[in-house]
Symmetry: C2
Subunit: 216 residues, 2 copies
C-alpha cells in the first residue's frame, strides 16, 4: 500500500518545533511524500475539549519544563525555555504567524514555507525573539530573506488564507486531534487516513509504518 504523510504543527507548541525539526531532517531522503500543514493549536484544544493539557496541571508543567531541555538536547535542536513560559503559552495566540506560514506556502510553495517555519522556530524557541503580533512578524519578515514580505503579510490577512488555516485545523479535528504536533498517515489509493499519531516522539514509529528509515 502506497502511503503519504501529513504533518500538522503550530509554531507556538514546543513539541511541534521538535517534531518539525525531526521530520524535515528526514523527509528529503524519504520516498514517502510529507506535506507540512500549519494549523491552530488553540482551536484544537477548544474543539476537542481537551482538559488535560500539561500547563493546566502544576505537576505536568514542572515535568514539561525539564522535559523540553532534555528532549532538545537529545534531538540536537537549539532551544531554551522562554521567559515567563507558562503565562506566555496560556495567553498567546499563534494565529498571525500561522497565517503567514499558510500564505508563504500558498505564494512560494512548500519548500519556502518549510524554510520560513525553521527560521521562525529558531528565532522564538532558541533566541526568545517574539513572533506573535503583526508588528513582530512583519519585522522578522523584513529582516529575513523573504522577498516582498509586505505583500506576503497582506496575503496572510486574506480570507483565502484564513480559510485554509481553518480547513487544516478541521482536517485534524475530524480525525480526533487533541494536541500538537499531529500526523496523518494516508492510504494514497483511497485518500483515507489510516493512522493518526499524536506527539513528536513517535517519528521512528511513523517512519517504520511507512517503510522509511528514521535518522535522529
Amino acid at each position: 500500500m502506497s502511503k503519504s504523510i501529513k504533518f500538522y504543527f503550530d509554531i507556538l507548541s514546543p513539541y511541534s518545533y521538535f517534531g518539525f525539526e525531526g521530520i524535515t531532517k528526514n523527509k528529503n531522503v524519504w520516498k514517502t511524500s510529507v506535506e507540512l500543514k500549519p494549523f491552530l493549536l488553540g482551536a484544537i484544544i477548544k474543539g476537542s475539549e481537551n482538559k488535560g493539557m500539561p500547563l493546566t496541571n502544576p505537576l505536568k508543567t514542572k515535568y514539561v519544563m525539564k522535559d523540553l531541555t532534555f528532549s532538545a538536547q537529545y534531538l540536537g535542536v537549539p532551544f531554551r525555555v522562554p521567559k515567563d513560559y507558562v503565562n506566555l503559552m496560556m495567553t498567546t495566540s499563534s494565529v498571525i504567524p500561522q497565517r503567514v506560514l499558510v500564505a508563504s506556502k500558498l505564494r512560494d510553495g512548500e519548500a519556502k514555507m518549510e524554510n520560513l517555519t525553521k527560521k521562525l522556530g529558531h528565532l522564538f524557541w532558541a533566541y526568545g525573539k517574539p513572533i506573535f503580533t503583526s508588528d513582530q512578524i512583519q519585522e522578522v519578515l523584513r529582516y529575513s530573506q523573504v522577498p516582498n514580505s509586505d505583500e506576503l503579510f497582506k496575503l496572510s490577512e486574506s480570507s483565502e488564507v484564513k480559510e485554509i488555516l481553518k480547513e487544516n485545523t478541521k482536517e485534524a479535528l475530524d480525525q480526533g486531534c487533541f494536541g500538537a504536533p499531529w500526523t496523518h498517515i494516508v492510504d494514497n489509493s483511497t485518500g483515507n487516513v489510516i493512522q493518526a499519531v499524536f506527539g513528536s516522539d513517535r517519528l521512528p514509529q511513523i517512519a517504520h509504518f511507512v517503510g522509511e528509515e528514521f535518522k535522529n
Copy 2:
C-alpha cells in the same frame, strides 16, 4: 557520571506493559543497572491530581484504542485490546497483582520477578486472562512455574510487602510522577534523580542519556 535506571510500572497500564517489554529486551546487554519497581498507578493518579488521563476524555480514548494496536505492532509485542476496555480500566484495582510482584522480588529476586511480570503481562494483555482478584492471581500462580506459590501469595499480603509497594509509589510521586510507566535516571555518586521520564516511547532517549545503545 555513572548513572542507573529505576523503571516504575503497573501491570494494569498497557503502556507499562509495552515499556516493560522494551526495557527488559535491552537491559541484559547494558552496563547501566536497571531496577524494575512495581508501583500503583491508581495511587499515582490520585496523588498527582491528574485530571487529564486518556480514558476520561472520549476523543483520547478513541485515539488510545487505535494507538495501542499500532504501538504493539511496531514493538512486536503480543497484544489485543481487552473486552470492555474502558470500563475495566476505570473500575479495576491492580493492588493484588502488584503486591504479588513485590513479594516475588522480595522472596525470589529481581530476575524471577521480571519473569513473573512478563508472564502476567502476556496472560492479560495478549490473552485477556484476568489477573486482578485473589482467586485469579492464585490460579495463575498455581498453574505457573512459581515454586510454593501459596506461600508467595501469603507473603504478598504481609505488611512488609504493602509497605514496599507504598514506598515505590511515594518515590515516584516525590519526583512529580503523574502516570505510567515512569523512569528515574539516577546519578550514582549522589543517589539523586537527575531526570524523570514519563511514558514508554522515550526508551531510545533514556538509552542515549545513559550512554547505552537501544534496540527496538
